[in-house]
Assembly symmetry: C2
């Protein structure tokens, strides 16, 4: 088969790889129906997280089960499945507590399993999925092609935006500000609206992203950033910060903006990978009782609830996919997102 491989900063190649096969009785082999590129893939693309060797890349995909291992009980060949971006057994204590990203057997697409096997990435024709029962979620019936982008968004960005909102305690009546207008930030807007937020304000200075934020239900857009942006926000909210701020970037500036935007007693829900080191000013947090919650999103336990809404036509984040390419053009997908020509690029086989 063919799949995307990372070779070096800005060097992604579409190349021949071994056909995945069942290695363990808990595996499934999935034929990919759609995949996409994640903002976190871009950090790898740019070399910010230098791996030792070339490796498969990508961790967001939906597809059809081709073959299921002997111990797989919840899936069978032909099922349409959504994969969350992390692999988990679904049965250990962290999984039962809803923290599948801290699963005792957690594995990551494109990484290495405990036995030293290289795991397939999600940007390829086929993927071997370990711990298939714990990881994959099947739809009740094969979806229409038109639904596939909305289903693909469940693999990471929508679940991650939802996690930001849940972590920040968003509920009916909340005022919410979203820092970050990437696909995750836009999905956080959608998730906050879905959870009943009274008013959602998005920080964005890009017209294309502002349009999506508005379409997803943001009542206000603020183009200013940093303390200026927080000051405009307080002005819009009658002199106060927001009850909940969703930090969807992961650097020092975005976290500072989030903390400047939250009211006393409020919560920052953060899901941006803190690569650049986002220091938390504990004295300010202490003085104003500002909580910081979130982390790498445990998408898997959110899937049944979100999937129900997607299939009912009530939840559709597919507008984040503003570029669609054939999978063999994966290198161009990365370049388009890296150069901000695309919010998020969908790859068709």
């Amino acid at each position: 088969m063919h799949a995307a491989m990372w070779y070096a900063p800005r060097d992604i190649r579409w190349e021949e790889r071994p056909d995945p096969t069942i290695q363990l009785p808990t595996d499934a082999v999935v034929r990919v129906v759609a995949a996409c590129v994640c903002g976190s893939d871009l950090w790898t693309y740019r070399g910010a997280r230098p791996p030792a060797d070339p490796h498969p890349i990508g961790h967001e995909f939906v597809g059809v089960v081709e073959q299921a291992g002997a111990d797989v009980t919840t899936l069978r060949a032909g099922d349409f499945v959504i994969s969350p971006f992390s692999i988990s057994d679904g049965s250990c204590r962290p999984c039962r507590q809803g923290v599948t990203t801290s699963c005792e057997q957690v594995q990551w697409y494109g990484g290495t399993d405990p036995a030293g096997r290289t795991l397939d990435g999600g940007q390829g024709r086929y993927v071997r999925v370990p711990l298939a029962d714990g990881t994959l979620v099947a739809t009740p019936a094969p979806p229409d092609t038109a639904q596939i982008p909305a289903l693909l968004a469940l693999s990471d960005v929508l679940g991650t935006g939802h996690h930001a909102a849940v972590s920040a305690g968003v509920g009916p009546g909340s005022t919410v500000a979203v820092v970050g207008d990437g696909a995750v930030g836009l999905c956080a807007v959608l998730a906050a609206v879905r959870l009943g937020a009274e008013r959602v304000v998005a920080f964005s200075s890009h017209a294309d992203r502002q349009r999506v934020a508005t379409a997803f239900g943001a009542a206000d857009i603020i183009a200013e950033r940093g303390d200026d942006g927080a000051a405009v926000l307080r002005d819009r909210l009658g002199g106060r910060g927001a009850d909940a701020v969703l930090e969807c970037v992961g650097n020092q500036e975005s976290m500072a903006q989030a903390l400047a935007s939250v009211r006393p007693g409020g919560r920052v829900g953060y899901v941006g990978v803190p690569l650049g080191g986002a220091e938390l000013p504990i004295r300010k947090m202490f003085a104003d009782n500002i909580a910081v919650a979130g982390g790498v999103a445990p998408v898997r336990p959110y899937l049944p609830e979100l999937l129900t809404d997607v299939l009912a036509g009530n939840l559709d984040a597919s507008a984040v996919f503003d570029l669609q390419l054939p999978m063999e053009q994966v290198a161009e997908a990365y370049a388009a997102m890296d150069e901000r020509r695309s919010i998020k690029t969908l790859l068709w086989p």
Copy 2:
């Protein structure tokens, strides 16, 4: 009247001060029936928070209203009242949201009001209480003398311990670990038990404090500290950290111990004043979805609920007062706590 004054590190004097009078129609003057020394007073005592000048000190007291200003509507002369350690109006948005410590008119005992008046401290014969309606809570009837220590604990330590537990999300079934065996940590044990925690583990290496922790409902005591302590905790909890960790110290070591003691997806509730700078390791928090919540405790909104239990005889933190002195010996009260001869010292007029 006489009151305690801070002059310099380890120099607390009991001296003549002007008799408090009503300065504003929202004031009340309270005759102190019991006061005590706070762990945070010790930081001032030791010179860690250097103020510019000698100033009144103390912020935990109960007493009887001597006189109420013309605009005070909820209190009258003769009422027995509990003062939370911060002064708040009870009507602004942060107060209505339960964050009275971020009140738009917040004031602090021993500090200075917006007009430049020095505020009385709580360790004295009388105290002028600004914003009396918002700040003070009266008991339905005059309490018995025997109830006074338990009522005094509501002024700060018990409300603060409760805030740690609430911030960490403690509820029925929670496993809880408490870092810090000072009066607040011990009260956090009591608060967690009251909130229905399934199992509370206290870190303490002092026999007198261990005894109080056990009396307050701690099922286990762990004498080890730091990573060793966290390892023993995991061992006691079947290989996992606690759902909720209550950080009641406020330094780098105690926060590190708290973060090492919490399970993936768990919460640290912290109420120790972060004087020494307690850095938060955001990458670890991110990887394991560990939330950090808490801050300076908004005791006032907790008082009605906690007071009901104290008056019903169901909640009694008075065991933290292991030394009781006449108020004029306030300097000895500080020395006893500074030298760890006393967990917490109660002062009688």
